[in-house]
């Protein structure tokens, strides 16, 4: 699908197609592994970093932080990946290649598009609790709340892309899901 890959737009990605998500991962994997070779990290660490970089990139698209591609997708992935590699090197000071000059490590601002949210904050206790109970909700509730909070869908978008018939149906379904979630947290 050569023709498709060259012209992937933010809109294509935001549609949330699993196929495209996978395709972009596969298409840029080789280039990323090649790029990351010079840091002499174990292969499994590089794969792990590539996956994390890809997820950061994807989330930034989904959340509207990247509003248009100012460079190719691989450039974004290299940039985010480089930040994550350096971050890992800092954390694993002892395991880095002795030939690698740590002074080359620069600050985040110099490495990635400043608009990109690296989102490395760990969850608060309340968020961990919410995450745990969210996972116990039924699939319909999980899907609805994910569209709403993660994908940033408006009620109209939700009606357009799901089986919900009207605004009121969406609103009452969402409020039922929120009620269940709160009850589960309170009974914890």
């Amino acid at each position: 699908m050569q023709r498709v890959q060259e012209n992937i737009t933010i809109t294509d990605l935001k549609k949330g197609s699993d196929l495209l998500f996978r395709k972009i991962y596969e298409d840029n994997r080789g280039k990323f592994l090649n790029f990351a070779k010079k840091y002499h990290l174990p292969h499994e660490d590089i794969i792990d970093i590539y996956q994390d970089a890809y997820i950061v990139f994807y989330n930034n698209v989904m959340e509207g932080k990247i509003v248009e591609f100012t460079s190719s997708i691989s450039t974004y992935l290299f940039s985010i990946g480089k930040y994550l590699i350096f971050d890992k090197m800092k954390k694993n000071n002892k395991t880095i290649n002795p030939d690698f000059d740590l002074s080359l490590i620069r600050e985040k601002e110099e490495l990635v598009d400043p608009n990109i949210d690296m989102d490395q904050d760990s969850l608060t206790t309340e968020q961990i609790l919410l995450k745990r109970h969210f996972a116990t909700l039924g699939k319909k509730c999980q899907d609805l709340l994910t569209l709403f909070y993660y994908r940033g869908y408006s009620i109209k978008d939700i009606i357009d892309t799901t089986d919900y018939a009207s605004e009121n149906v969406v609103k009452s379904a969402k409020s039922r899901c929120m009620k269940t979630l709160k009850e589960r947290i309170n009974s914890n």
């Binding site: 012209n7 935001k14 196929l19 998500f21 997820i55 940033g152």
Partner: protein, 240 residues
């Protein structure tokens, strides 16, 4: 606009500047509103983390698939010797089955649904055309609805690509016969998506274990188009 609606708009990034002012004021003056906002903000982070876990698992699965040993049709002397011994034990039928082309696996490893690259569905899009509805259904894998909507697009405004995506929707529903008819029509009429349709016709032939037909489509792809040329070449080698 009530407070709940303000929160809806906040989380879909669609507050107007005026609503934004009201929103900020409420955060300062209304403790109940602030508490609800904070709860939803925490939930947003929790869901994002949940989603990250899901994406990570998906990528780990993709990685496992990439690293899975490929199905080899060529075998070396040693494996031939082992196979020959097995053949002696289980007879010609068993041997033949063991080394025959695994059409299902060839199909599964080659097939992927063609993404919507022709119709842009944007969030702010107020247009509610049949075509838009068809692509929304296609994107969300509601193939039956997609087909009905594609059919409902008036012929005089029907774009060349509609047949191709309708065929894709049939493939999504595992209805290969209907898909095949449409792909053949596209190839015969020589309009948009001819190379792509040829590729899917080859895959359908593989699924039906029609080796000769599959080879014809794949050779046509290799000789006439650049789309999926390398993959077609590889499939041809596997089918030899």
């Amino acid at each position: 606009m009530n407070k709940q609606d303000l929160l809806y708009h906040y989380f879909s990034n669609s507050l107007t500047p005026e609503q934004e002012t009201v929103f900020q004021n409420l955060l300062k003056t209304d403790t109940e509103f602030k508490a609800q906002f904070e709860f939803e903000n925490h939930l947003k982070k929790a869901i994002k983390s949940h989603e990250n876990d899901r994406l990570k698992t998906t990528l780990q699965d993709v990685e496992r698939e990439i690293n899975m040993p490929k199905h080899h049709t060529l075998f070396n002397y040693k494996s031939f010797a082992v196979a020959a011994s097995i053949a002696l034990l289980v007879g010609w039928f068993g041997y033949n089955t063991f080394y025959s082309i695994n059409y299902n696996s060839l199909y599964d490893s080659s097939f992927s649904e063609y993404p919507n690259t022709v119709y842009t569905i944007t969030r702010s899009d107020d247009e509610n055309s049949i075509e838009r509805e068809a692509f929304v259904a296609y994107e969300t894998k509601n193939y039956q609805i997609a087909i009905e909507k594609f059919d409902a697009v008036p012929e005089n405004i029907q774009k060349n690509y509609v047949s191709f995506y309708k065929a894709q929707a049939y493939l999504g529903m595992e209805n290969k016969e209907e898909a095949k008819v449409l792909f053949e029509q596209i190839v015969n009429e020589n309009k948009s998506f001819v190379a792509e349709s040829t590729w899917y016709l080859a895959l359908i032939a593989i699924k039906k274990e029609d080796k000769e037909m599959a080879k014809i489509y794949l050779e046509s792809l290799v000789n006439n188009y650049t789309y999926n040329k390398d993959r077609a070449q590889k499939l041809l080698e596997e089918l030899k």
